[in-house]
Every structure is written in structure tokens, then in C-alpha cells.
């Protein structure tokens, strides 16, 4: 009651920042940006294919140049590299039990390796041109599917190293294919002749596809969605979703990429496997450097991320912990999501025993005044329902510079703010000093080391648009007032040089922007006239 009349101390507040309307993150985009990115640089050339093993702990393989590397999903580091290729590796695929891996290269050769020993077990030789994709069918350990620049899709018997079927429907390079998750006999392939073809090995006639979908662009990637009834194809700037059961009807065309979409994969959002909240998304990457998350249930792009290079491949681990993206300049961005240990354990236990909770948690007994611990509860104890709360007036938190300002020690306040590495606060202190008419006095009182600190700050932030009006004026004043000191100290001279280069850079940027404005404004004028 009494405090309301006393005039309060106001701590210094930095200027408010405008909040953009999309700044509030949806839970989904928070999920997708929770993958902490880990870079694996210096692979020799582009990464055209990344694939995950289907068994825990889900290691993944990335093809680049003439080698295939296996990565650990825990450390995201390379564990082994297979180098027995004669040409650039184009594609790789794990068998469903994760013990074998098939890889194709541009010489037309397909090799099958043992994952543990990395020895080549089989060499499948039939393609006359570079092979672009190789795929193990779902839950089928014996066969293999491949396609290449000769336009022929081949269905292999791996053990005998011979081709069972030659499917010759495509009129151009076959670039991609995927096997149905519900049937080990049917699969789709995509080709540069704009067509997605659905094949069934049970159909005798090898040249006629069961279904043909026209994407309209050369197809870069094609994918069965987990239900098995939908197919997504990527080509050109668009990702299209097709309904196979409905006779190949186009459901939606997602066109938010600016350049060619190179790869798509299935992503999962949700806590654990089997969770009812689990939802599937299509992750697509393109040459424009964007990774987009497409919710094909709501037909909406829910998240979008930018990478600094054109992206060629994407893969998402089956336990939804790792997301790997390969670029055209030999960098792999592997992202790992933190999963709570407890959640992991319980799912593992539940999986093992098939039981829910088998041991009851010992409940912590309620503290009563007769207990010794009752009197050592500490501050964090929540008040119970019947407790009478004595509210204390909220204390105003004062930062160090606030305390100095309260004592009218202006120079110390400025120095303290400079030391704290928060540019907003420094600007707020400078503004307060302006309002008190003490800034110039303050500058003239700084000793050389503090002046260096100030110059360092100005070098960093004087061209930030939010503060430049204030800070550029400050730079001028500092140079005017402390010219003598700066001239006598080499260190300060260096700092001034830094400031100068920052300003020059900014001037160049401004000139560039003005040029652009000059180009655009006549266009806008013309557009407005119409």
C-alpha cells in the first residue's frame, strides 16, 4: 500500500524491438530447428545420396566421389569408408536387416557389401550406362532394383548376380525409384521423360507399367509415402503428391522451392515410435539451398530452413533422431535431436517386455511439520492450498550500470555496460547519458583502455541500422575529442582503422542498395501506371 506512492526507481531499458508477426515459433518449427547441426566438411565432391539403415542404432551411409562412407548416428562422425569403386558413387541402399549395403556407380556397376567387413560380396554387371539409383525392396532380402542412364529399370536376383526383369518403359534417363512399403513386388521409378511409372513384377509384360503419372518436369526423386497409397515425386521446382489407389490422381503440387528440388524423404514428427501424435512429413531439399517441411495431410509447408549451399540429398533416420543433408560442395549437415534419456529408456523397456510400467515409483511423502526436513524446505517449495501468502513487493532489479547511474557515476556506468557485451544496454546507457547531458564529458574522461573498449564496440555496431543514427554521431565526436590520444597510441590507431573499414563497407552496401533501388523504381512506376 505504502509503496505505491513512492516514486520508483526505473532501471534502464533498451529500446523496444519491433516483433515480427511470424516470430512466434510454432511447436513444429521448434521441433525442426531442434536438430543441432553438425558439419562434416571437406568431402571431395557433391553428396548425391544418403541412406539410413533400417535397424537400430540406424547408421547412415553417404556417397560422395568414388567412395561410400558409413557414419555413426551417435557421434555423427565417419566410422568407415569403402573405396573399392572405379567411378563416382551415385546411390546406395541398405538391406532391410541392415547387414548388407548395395551401391551403384557411374560406370554401370552395382556392388553389394557386407556392412561389418566392408568386403564386396556381389558385383552386378548389366547396365551399360551410369546407374543412378539402386534400391532394396521393402522386407525383401533377395532382390534389388536399379535404374540408370540407359533408360532401363532392372530387377535383380542378388545371390545369382543376374537380372530377373528388364523394364524398358522409360524414354529417357531413369533417375530415381522407390519400393512400396506395403508390397515387395511393386515399385515406382522416375525419369527425365517427366514420367513416374508404377511397376509390378507380377505383371509379366516387362515393358508396360501398371500406372504412369506425368509430372511435367524431369523427375529428380520419387517416394512412396508410408501408407503405400500415395506417391510423392520431385522434379523441377515442385513436389507433387499422387494418389495411386485413386487411379493416379494429382492431390497437390507444392511449389515453394525456387530452384530444382533434388531430393525428398519422409520425416516424422512426434515423440516416439508408435506414438499417436506421430505424423509424417515430406522433407524436400533443392538447389536453392532450402529444406522445406511439407505437411501433406494439411497440404501446407510448415517449416523452411536455409543452408548456405545447393542441397542434393536428404535423409531422416527411422527413429527420428537424425536428419542428414548433403550438399553439392561436399559438406554433410547432420543434425541430431536431443531426446530425453528417460523417454528413450522407457520406450526401450516397453519394447522389450511388452509391459507398461512394471515398477511403481516410490512416491515422495508429503512434508509435514513434524518432519525434520519440513524446516529445510527452501525457497522453491510451492505453497499449499491453505497457506497464507505474504506478498512481498517486487524488487526492482538493477544492473551494474543502473547502480552507477543512480550514483551519478557516469563514466563507470558506460564502462560497465561496455564490458557486459550487450549492445542494447550500451546504447541505452549512451542515450541516458545524452538525456543527462553527460555523454561528451564522459568521453573526454575515458582513459585509453576504456576508449579502446568503446572503439571496439563502435567498430562492431556503428553500422547496425537500429543504432547507426546515434552511434555514427558518437564515432565522429569520439574522433574529434580524442584525436590526440588516438594519434599517440598504435593500438587505438588500429581500432580506428577497423572502424573506418566498417564504415567503408557500409558505404559500399548503401551504394549497392541505391543502385538496386534505381533499377527497381522505374519498374514500380510502370507497374503502378497500369
Amino acid at each position: 500500500m505504502e509503496e505505491t506512492f513512492v516514486s520508483k526507481t526505473f532501471p534502464l531499458k533498451p529500446k523496444l524491438k519491433p516483433t515480427s508477426k511470424t516470430s512466434s515459433k510454432t511447436p513444429e518449427s521448434r521441433y525442426w530447428s531442434s536438430f543441432k547441426t553438425h558439419e562434416t566438411p571437406n568431402l571431395i565432391s557433391s553428396v548425391p545420396s544418403i541412406t539410413f539403415s533400417g535397424v537400430a542404432p540406424h547408421p547412415f551411409a553417404a556417397a560422395y566421389s568414388a567412395s561410400l562412407s558409413l557414419f555413426s548416428p551417435q557421434t555423427l562422425e565417419r566410422t568407415h569408408t569403402i573405396n573399392s569403386f572405379r567411378d563416382v558413387v551415385s546411390s546406395a541402399s541398405f538391406r532391410c536387416d541392415g547387414s548388407l549395403i548395395a551401391a551403384s556407380d557411374l560406370s554401370g556397376l552395382i556392388q553389394v557389401f557386407d556392412v561389418k567387413t566392408r568386403t564386396p560380396l556381389r558385383k552386378l554387371r548389366s547396365h551399360t550406362r551410369p546407374v543412378r539409383f539402386v534400391k532394396y525392396p521393402f522386407l525383401d532380402k533377395l532382390h534389388l532394383l536399379s535404374g540408370g542412364d540407359d533408360g532401363i529399370v532392372k530387377y535383380w536376383d542378388v545371390a545369382g548376380e543376374n537380372v530377373i526383369l528388364d523394364l524398358k518403359g522409360h524414354k529417357d534417363y531413369v533417375r530415381c525409384g522407390d519400393c512400396s512399403p506395403v508390397s515387395s513386388d511393386s515399385f515406382v521409378t522416375g525419369s527425365y521423360d517427366h514420367a513416374v511409372k508404377l511397376w509390378d513384377v507380377r505383371v509379366g509384360d516387362g515393358n508396360r507399367a501398371v500406372m504412369e503419372l506425368n509430372h511435367g518436369n524431369p523427375i529428380e526423386d520419387v517416394l512412396f509415402l508410408p501408407s503405400g497409397g500415395l506417391v510423392a515425386s520431385a522434379g523441377g521446382n515442385s513436389v507433387k503428391v499422387w494418389d495411386l489407389i485413386g487411379g493416379g490422381k494429382l492431390l497437390y503440387s507444392m511449389e515453394s522451392h525456387n530452384k530444382t528440388v533434388t531430393s525428398i524423404c519422409i520425416g516424422r514428427i512426434g515423440k516416439e515410435i508408435g506414438d499417436e501424435w506421430m505424423q509424417y512429413r515430406i522433407l524436400s531439399v533443392g538447389l536453392d539451398g532450402y529444406m522445406k517441411v511439407f505437411d501433406y495431410a494439411n497440404l501446407k509447408v510448415t517449416h523452411s530452413m536455409r543452408y548456405p549451399a545447393p542441397l542434393l540429398s536428404v535423409a531422416f533416420s527411422p527413429d527420428s533422431k537424425v536428419r542428414v543433408i548433403g550438399t553439392s560442395n561436399g559438406i554433410i549437415y547432420a543434425g541430431k535431436r536431443k531426446v530425453k534419456e528417460g523417454a528413450e529408456e522407457s520406450s526401450a523397456v516397453g519394447g522389450f517386455l511388452g509391459l507398461g510400467s512394471f515398477s511403481e515409483q516410490p512416491k515422495s511423502r508429503a512434508l509435514r511439520p513434524s518432519f525434520y526436513r519440513y524446516f529445510h524446505r527452501g525457497q522453491s517449495v510451492k505453497p499449499s492450498k491453505g497457506d497464507f501468502l505474504v506478498m512481498q513487493a517486487k524488487k526492482v532489479k538493477l544492473a551494474e550500470h543502473d547502480k552507477f547511474l543512480k550514483k551519478f557515476r557516469h563514466r563507470e556506468a558506460l564502462v560497465s555496460a561496455l564490458g557486459k557485451n550487450n549492445p542494447e544496454n550500451v546504447v541505452a546507457v549512451v542515450e541516458e547519458l545524452v538525456a543527462r547531458r553527460k555523454l561528451l564529458k564522459c568521453i573526454s574522461n575515458l582513459d585509453l583502455e576504456e576508449l579502446g573498449q568503446l572503439l571496439m564496440f563502435l567498430h562492431k555496431y556503428c553500422t547496425v541500422p537500429r543504432h547507426s543514427a546515434l552511434l555514427m554521431g558518437l564515432v565522429k565526436k569520439v574522433i574529434d575529442m580524442r584525436a590526440e590520444d588516438i594519434r599517440n597510441s598504435d593500438k587505438l590507431k588500429g581500432l580506428i582503422r577497423n572502424v573506418k573499414s566498417t564504415v567503408q563497407e557500409e558505404i559500399l552496401i548503401q551504394q549497392g542498395l541505391q543502385e538496386i533501388q534505381g533499377i527497381i523504381s522505374p519498374l514500380l512506376k510502370m507497374a503502378g501506371r497500369r
Binding site: 505504502e2 506512492f5 513512492v6 516514486s7 520508483k8 526507481t9 526505473f10 531499458k13 529500446k15 523496444l16 516483433t19 508477426k21 512466434s24 547511474l405 543512480k406 549512451v430 542515450e431 541516458e432 547519458l433 545524452v434 538525456a435 543527462r436 547531458r437 555523454l439 561528451l440 543514427a469 546515434l470 554521431g473 558518437l474 565526436k477
Partner: protein, 802 residues
Amino acid sequence: MIRGGRSYVSTSPAFSNDAKRLLVCTGSTVSIFSTLTGLQVASLDGHTALVTSVIVVPASSPGSRILCYCWTSSLDGTICYWDFSVPEMIKKIDVHLPIFSMVIPTLLKTPADSERSSDLYAYISAQNINKSERPKPLIGQLRKFNLTKSFIGGITLKETQRPEIITVCPSGRFFGILSKNKLIIWKVPDKESDQAILKKIVLHHTKKFSVLAFHPSQRLVAAGDVTGRILIWRGFGNRTFGKPMKYDEDNPGVRGDDDAESCSTWHWHPTDINVIAFSSDGAYLYSGGTEGVLVVWQLDTGKKKFLPRIGSPLLYFVDSPDPTLASISCADNRILLLKMPYLGIMKSISGIKLPFYAPEAFKVMCAGYAFDRAGVVALRTEDFHVQIYSLLDDREISEVVVCERNHQPADEITVVVTLVTLSQDGSVMSTVEVRLPEEDIGGLTCLKFWTSTSQNNQFELSTVIYEPHRDSHVSSVAFRPNRPMAVTTSEICDFKLWVCNDGTHRKNELKPSSGWVCYAVGSYKRRPLTAAAFSGDGSVLAVAADTAITLWDPDRNELVGVLGNTLGPIKALSFIGQSEYIVAASGGPKSQLSVWNMSQFTISWSYMLQVEAVASDQNSSTFAVLALLPKSVIQSKETTFVGRDGIILLFDVKQPQPVASWSVTKAEGGGLAFVEANQLEDDISPGTRKHGLLAFINGQHEYVLFDPFNDQELVEHSVLVRKSPAAEETVYAGYASLYGELPEFDWKKNQKAASEVVIMPSERPWETIFSGSSHTLPPLTKLCGAFLEALLQKRPAAVEKS
């Protein structure tokens, strides 16, 4: 007619004997406030000019505590004697001299000191209006006045250049005045008579004094000077007033041949001292000054305690008879009631904020007041607040912190709230604050929109816009009636329309974003825009572009028309009610008032007038103008305009002859508005009235509300005094908190078992019994007897209850 907005801090207030009332001089009246609720309960009307002092007759015995008599003196040359419990005037004495200060030392003397003489004498500081023949006129006079026989005693104690304030010793033995760097102290004669000779001493200092105070019991005087030093003389006047004892001792610190034992100096205050007071027991000294910090000095040791951040220069400190209560008057027209031993602020009595003097650079940007239709005015204050003040109740409603900054009253003003605007229904407020740059670095203009949450006018910040017109300041803000839209104009040739999106149309957003966003930008021929106004129905926006008036469609942001040229840049625009006319006031050397016809795009009529404010009535075709009188008229000493410098003219738009006119004082910086006063409808005229009341607020923030159309009945309606009996709860402290108040002990009555006074102890004595330090409790010797009596008394009371 309602007058209000008077200063509460023109002179020091006084507490009543039971400390439940505070008597405050407010202009020509004395307002009585309750110290418990902080609300006004009564007022003493009778003087015709500024009341300069109020003296409550102290209670000579504990029994007479309930007596409520006081003396007041005024500039109209009268001294009045009041019973302020009723309240009524008992006696009026005419002195024929304007009285600037009055003390009555005899009242303060305890009866044991001297047997009361039959006559009561006052010492008055008056202005001598007769003498003017001397080259350096000494117009201030210090005289003795016999209140009983009501005539001025023969002696003039002192003549000064200006009438000085007299300070009296709490024991009534001495009084003194300040005269530049001299301190003049008189001893009140033991036996008062008309011709009694008063002895005086003079104490010197090198600086100009600003305030003085006497110790309640010892022979000790403290004085503050303009540099912030406090000088304390101990044993002053031993030679002159007392028996001459030792002459040969050295007097440390005493200047020259001054008559004092010793003089010590304390220096803490950085600027001049306005307040010096001793606590009633004489152990502490209170001091305060421009920097707004009350310092409590322990008199023996010089140790300090502070009450900081009062936020405004302190003017007076008054101790009450209740040891737990004191009051401070602040320069921002606020009286704070302090809980004494630990200096907690209990209540604050706020009057209308006084005008502040902004530096020259701000002068051009600042604009007066914001009124809404319900009779609420928003005023800018020096400490970055906006005060919302009810004109009808003459009471502060709320205060809005515009800029969250710590205000230092002594500092140079660099941050100022320059504009404040209320929407017509009073639900939205906009403020503009400006920070002046220091040598061209760091200037900032900031536009803020506030929304009132409910009827209680508590404004909450809605939107902050930094630099709304780049680095130019905002010249005016106007709200659109019936629609959440506002316009701001700037000197750099553009105006912006702002709309409030309340976030209802956006469903998917998690948090509805409500705020004001820019809707449209416009400019006219790159001319500086100076004023803006919306028409009554909000369909037309008028923006003054230097000398032309441009009319816009605010929804589509299209220029509709341009009205000709005025002689100077336009300062103010106003649509006149429902008519097709618009009135413009232009400044410059050829200032002009012009009325324009919007349908014909022509000037209708105009006057050469220096207009300070324009207000138009929404429901009729009349408007009122506050104009400054030209210098020649003021200097010509025409009888009609004595002391007046402004005139309010009421026009009907059809003809250029004014319907009515009133001359006013202190018109510069004044404001004018029509308000709807439904609350007073039955009070003033029972008939249906078409027009609103006209509110005029002058440069000193004193205001008057009147009905402009029947000025014949300028009956003064005093401000409605809202009593709140429920809040008048008594709070006991110390002894009384345990056992209730002691009754007048009457043995005979007590023997009759049925005593009428039922004494019950206050319900929770433990809450207040320890609230004071031990010196606030009655002495043990007194307490013991009373304690036993109370015990005796309690039993029959309890029996009676059961």
C-alpha cells in the same frame, strides 16, 4: 460555475489539533483535507484574495483537542478567525494592508510560561501600499497587530524591500525573518502590550539565506542558504536576550560580533534548501531542497537518514500534533503525508500539476492540454508523467508514467512530453516525448498510444513508435471520432494516419496482436504540416499545410479539396460542430482567426487576433476562442482590462460579431474546451441544455467551468465535496491503540454506572502498539495513572455490553 485547479503549495499547510485534518491554503479559500483518506472534506470561503497563512489555535490542554479554531491572513488585507469544524467564520478583522505572512507567538506559549495577557497580538509582514516617494522603496513592513482590539500597533519593527516570511519559534519566544544574508531574530516580550519594546539580534552569513527554523526547546536556530549549506547557531542571543554572563569565551564559527555561542555548518544538499524543520522533540532536523530528497539529521551527531526520490522540489515540512504524522509539500502541487519515525509515505494529496518551464528548444513543440468530452483533462508534467485530472471533481484521477526514467528535479530538462491528446470518449491517449540531442547526438522523438482498460481511466501502454516522422518532431496529433484512427503531422511535410488493429480478424495467430500501425502517408506540395483535425462525424480530415487547409478523405487517403491562404502559418484547426465551416488560427506576425466555408471553398470572415486556443461545440454552430490582448491594450491601462491579458470570445459561425466575451488573466499558455457535464445537469439548470459547458484553464493551470450561454447567473458552485464516511475510520496508535481513547474523566458521571462513553480497545492493538519508537509513547509517569483509570473504566463498559 466551477472553479478549481488551485495550488496547494502556495503556503505551508497546518494540521488540526487532533491531526485528523489538514488545512491547506488554496487560492482564496482554505481547503480542509482528511489525513486518513486524503480527500477534501470542507473548505473555508470568505477571503477574496490569496490566503497567505493559516494558524490553528493550539490546544492548551488535552481536553481542548477537539477545538477547531484557526486564524487566516490574506492578501486582501483581512485576518479571519474560523471554527473549521462547522465550518464558519467567527470574526473578520480588516488590516487594510496586503498581508504576506502572519505569526501569533502568544498562542504557542504554554500557560505556565506567562499568564495570558488579555490581548492577542499578531506579527504581520505586510506590503506598504502608501510609500513610494523614496528612490529605493521599502515596501515590506513587519508590524505588530492587536487582534483583540483590531488595530495596528505603533511600532514598525523592520522595513524590507520585499515582504518577508516570518518564522516563529515553536515555543513562541522568538520569531525571525531572513534578509538576504542576514538573519534577524526578535524576542517576544514576556508581557505583551501595544508599546512593548522588542529586542533583536542579527546573525550574518556570506551567502543568501533561503529558510530558517527554531529549535522547539533550546536556544538554537538553523538556517539554510542557496548553496545548500545548513548553519546551526547554538545559544543565540545570550548577550542580548539573556543575562550577560561570560564575554571572554571564543565563539567557534560565529561570524564577527554576532550574538551566538557557536555556529556549525552542515553541507549535503547540492542546491538551495527550501525546507528546514526540527522534530517536535528537538532531536532531529529535517531538511530538503530542490533535488527532492528529505534528509533527517540527528542533531547531536550529524548522522543522516534519507527519504529519496520524492521526485519534485520540496517546499514545506509540517509536523503534526500526532507524533506519527507529518506532511511534505512538493513543488508539483502535491502534499505527502508521512508516517513519521520511519518516513513511509502514507497518502498523497495531489492537486493539478503546475506548469513547468521547458527550455527554449521545446517551446515550439509543446502544446497545451487534452480534454475529453466528460470533463477530464490530461496535463503534461515535468517528470515525464501525464496527469489525468477531473475538472468536475477538482481531483486527480490517475497519473501515467510516459517515460520510464528517473527524474532529477535539479537537472536541466532534456526529455519532455511535448504533446498529449485524448480521443473524444477518453479511451485512447497519445503522447509524444522528445529527447533533445546533446551536440547533435542522440535526439529521439517517440510516439506512444495508450488505451484505457476500463472506466477508471487507468491507461496502459499499447504501442510505441520511435521516430514516427524520421528525425522530425510531431507537430500535432488528432483522433478520429467514432473510429480507432489517429493522424500525426510533422514539419517535414508528411502526415501519417494510424489505425488500431485489435487483432480480432486474425484467427490463427496464437497471440492476437493489437497495436497501432501506419495506415497511410500523405503530403501536400512539400509544405510543412502544422495542425490537423477530424470533422465531427469523422468523414473529413483537415490538415493545415503552412498557410493552406487541405481536406482529405481519411479512408481512401485522397485529397478532397484545398482552402485558400491565411496570412501566416496555421497553428490550430477546428471543425465547427455540424456546420460546414472550419475555423483556423494562424500565427506569425500577422496572426489571424479565419472561418472558412467548406462547401464553397471560400473564407467566410476573419479577425486579426492572436489566438491561443480554439474550441468548438459539437452540437451547435458556436465556437469559443481564447485570444491574447495586444500589448497596446494592456499598457493603455484601460479600466476594463486591469490586470487581464486575455479574452475569451464566443462566436456563432454565421455572424462575425461575438455572442459573448469574458476577459481573463494569465491567458498565455491557456486552454479552452467544451465539455459535456451531465452530472451537473440538475445542479445548474434543470431545463434541457443544448450546449456544453466551457472549460477555461489558464497558464497557471487554474481553471473555471461555466455555461457560456447564460452568463448572467455566474453563481459559484463550489466543487462537490465527496465525503466518504466509510473511509473515515480512526486508527489509533501508541497508548490509544491498546486501550482506546481516554475519556474526559468525570468522577460524578463515573459513579453513575451508566456512562455514555463506551470504551472498547481498538480491535487489533498489536498492529499499532509497536509502530512508533519509544518516544512516541506517552511518558511512563503519565501512562501509569491513566492506565489504572482505564482499567477501572473498562470493566463497567464490558459489563454494560454483556
